[in-house]
Subunit: 475 residues, 2 copies
């Protein structure tokens, strides 16, 4: 189904009224967290906690039963015990509720008895036309609509990645990791056992959703292979699709079966299917997110020639080496371009490519003027820069003798940040990608700024090469 | 030279009096930073700034010339212009100074003229018996002796890694990166152009130094191949040696030549030499440090069977998959062991291996009791755990509705930290390695605790498998 409006996720990702089943006043209850985080993200719609005994939950009026709800909510959020979910679905169906998220575990992933329970749930849902995420999932996050019904707070800006995952952990626990690199979700769904809404629905939705600029998938096994292939093909024609598949080994398949009851297939088959469908296969979580983020924001490469610009010799050499290993060309610049570069360099600098400024008091040269000059020269197709940041270094110095020295620290930091803001806009202006790295993170405001403008700033030089490789025209 | 006492680095790493050339009262002067950081780390010895005009520098009495110094310092730290270094060496030699660090660039890395200057410097040094680090380097860090003469503050505890690097950036800019993983140096030296003291001296020193538990090398090219091989062989017989080599490609070699004037050799030759010498080759900076750190602290594997224990299904499956891809066995546990595990698990958990607790309010089960049970069972040789931490999650929740809920947050955090402290001691007690990962960093005190006790806690699940692979008996 390619029409976003008809996709079962549309009403879930855009819910304006949510009934919550399983929250109470205790912090040892799963549902309590979900409610806390929904309120915490600033959900602007109506929230209706339902509880047989409590009159209010976390400051909200609570309702005794589904029948008591003052309207038909767009969405039911369910964390109650598995045995009670079927009965709840009956009540929701009678009320006219059409969408649910079943976080509760204890279904197909638990063997025969759970499987039967899940089949019953599906039957009731079908009878009432209820489509639902889960069971045995961790919920969804839709930051643009200020929805977060997971256990973890979402504290970033809305982003560009649409994530669909057979792991709830990769949707939620990873948030603190993603915060460190300024990688935000556009939408994220923990698919769980996929009893109703599955991977194919999510891919279709993200393909049609303009807020999603790149699709990231964590896959333990595929339930509808033909539909998956078709959906992935349609999606990858519109936007990049990156995926991890972990069911290809014996141990991975066994673990996946216990986790979400997924049926995994042989690795080579998935490899072939991914190629056919235009899916970029990532080897690990770090690459999945770094690549999806890079693909979401940076222009594609139009050729294979990469320049390196930095004020650090070791990263310059590591980058040159890693680029050539990855099949890139690191061309020595023309005499003409080198002469122009040398005008800006100290005598210890190197102008050939990599350009190494060595010690550079004027950060505008390595981090804006030379990048602009190099990209506009036409001699390369993309640029890698190591060493984003600067302001945080002054903060570090303050641990020592800073007070003893008169120096306009705050003005310097503003000046540095302004340079990197100009840098972050170059790729769109010139139409060529820049990928960067830095050993400092978002504690440095320059790093935070470029990341927030969609310029990848990765933790080590070598990782930029892997990300750049995903921007190749064939991908 | 295997005798530590006779190694030219001995007096440098243990200097008790340091003369500083090039510092002043301005924060735009390189030498000023070095002095700031030497004072900042709490150097307990004597510091003698030397300056032709200033009477005091950063609160210390300054001396007009080498001749004026009240004693013969153990070490001269030099950041003045390259043209003036030869003359300074003459003065140092006449005073009787025997060790120096020449941070100043503008020597062999600059072509013909610089090469001549460097030869002159070496000639003068030899005449007076001066051995020195550099030129064109960034200095040394010796945290146990509270010495740091680099541009970056060293803010961690002394660690176990001995780093020798052809890149100053990898010694210093990377400090902020290493802080995030609790990876500390035992000693670090930026080798620069290696005009006097070189990689071989550093390897020999670290081999003999008991504070160094693992040796990490960043290599752009080797100047004394036979001596390097012999030294590396001797060192790797005593402790692990991990190295990055980046000179094997055309682009890497060109960049290295501009950087430190290094002569690089073909990749296959280095690969063979590394194998012969017992050096573990790391593909990138992240691996270099993660592996050296793991090897420094964790017991070696005695077999190939690995268990996975976690409370997160996605990481469990990813780990099982990555382990099998890396050639490990992830054996299904015996019925007997599974029964014991199941006693501790909720019904939704999985006991086969991976062990997935799913949602676990009692963190002691997945993060201490089961790890102990599994390692003591004899059914595996090592253990990987994902999900270290817990306390920081409560901090995150406070962004939302925390106040509304009565809960003993601080007590919970202390209880959690105590569990992980017990976990971190298991590998030494049982003699089997544990490598862990977490999406939270040292902002969580449990993560900081285990890292400080030498248990690797890496940023993603898959990276633990690479680190565990280095602990194989063949390595």
């Amino acid at each position: 189904m390619e029409d976003r409006e008809k996709n079962p996720l549309e009403q879930i990702f855009n819910a304006r009224s949510i009934a919550v089943f399983g929250a109470n006043e205790k912090l040892t209850t799963m549902g309590t967290y979900q409610l806390m985080n929904l309120l915490g993200i600033g959900f602007p719609g109506k929230v209706y906690p339902v509880h047989p005994k409590l009159a209010s939950i976390q400051g909200l009026k609570a309702y005794g039963s589904v029948a008591d709800l003052p309207e038909v909510p767009d969405l039911a959020l369910i964390t109650i015990k598995s045995e009670a979910v079927v009965k709840l679905f009956e009540e929701l169906g009678r009320k006219g509720v059409k969408r649910a998220i079943v976080i509760s575990g204890g279904f197909k992933e638990m063997g025969e008895q759970g499987r039967a329970l899940e089949q019953e749930l599906v039957k009731v849902a079908q009878r009432y036309g209820i489509r639902f995420v889960g069971p045995n999932c961790i919920g969804i996050i839709a930051p643009w609509a200020k929805i977060n019904v997971t256990m973890y707070p979402y504290r970033m800006n809305p982003g560009a990645i649409g994530l669909a995952s057979h792991s709830g952990t990769y949707v939620t626990q990873s948030l603190v990791y993603l915060e460190k690199f300024g990688i935000g979700y556009s939408k994220a769904v923990s698919l769980g056992n996929e009893a109703s809404i599955d991977l194919v629905d999510a891919i279709d939705y993200y393909a049609a959703d303009e807020q999603v600029k790149a699709i990231a998938l964590y896959i333990e096994g595929i339930r509808r292979p033909a539909e998956f292939l078709a959906a992935a093909k349609r999606a990858s024609a519109k936007k990049p699709v990156v995926a991890i598949y972990v069911g290809g080994t014996k141990a991975g398949a066994r673990s996946g079966a216990s986790h979400t009851g997924a049926m995994a297939g042989r690795d080579e088959i998935y490899d072939g299917a991914f190629k056919q469908a235009g899916i970029i296969r990532a080897p690990d979580l770090q690459s999945l997110f770094e690549w999806a983020y890079t693909l979401a924001y940076q222009p594609r490469l139009k050729g294979n020639r990469i320049a390196v610009c930095t004020n650090a010799g070791g990263p310059a050499t590591s980058l040159a080496d890693a680029l050539e290993r990855a099949g890139f060309e690191v061309p020595e610049f023309s005499a003409n371009l080198q002469a122009k570069i040398r005008e800006q360099l100290p005598p210890t600098g190197s102008s050939k490519n990599p350009v190494d400024m060595t010690y550079a008091p004027d950060l505008e040269i390595p981090f804006f003027k030379l990048p602009q000059l190099i990209l506009e020269s036409g001699e390369v197709d993309g640029l890698i820069i190591h060493g984003i940041g600067g302001g945080s270094w002054y903060d570090q110095l303050s641990h020592n003798q800073q007070e003893a020295i008169k120096f306009p620290f705050e003005e310097m930091k503003k000046w540095i940040d302004a340079i990197f803001l100009k840098l972050a806009k170059l790729p769109q202006e010139i139409g060529k990608p820049i990928v960067t790295s830095s050993f400092v993170g978002r504690e440095d405001s320059a790093v935070a700024s470029v990341q927030d403008l969609g310029m990848p700033c990765l933790p080590t030089p070598e990782r930029t090469v892997l990300a750049m490789a995903q921007l190749r025209p064939s991908k």
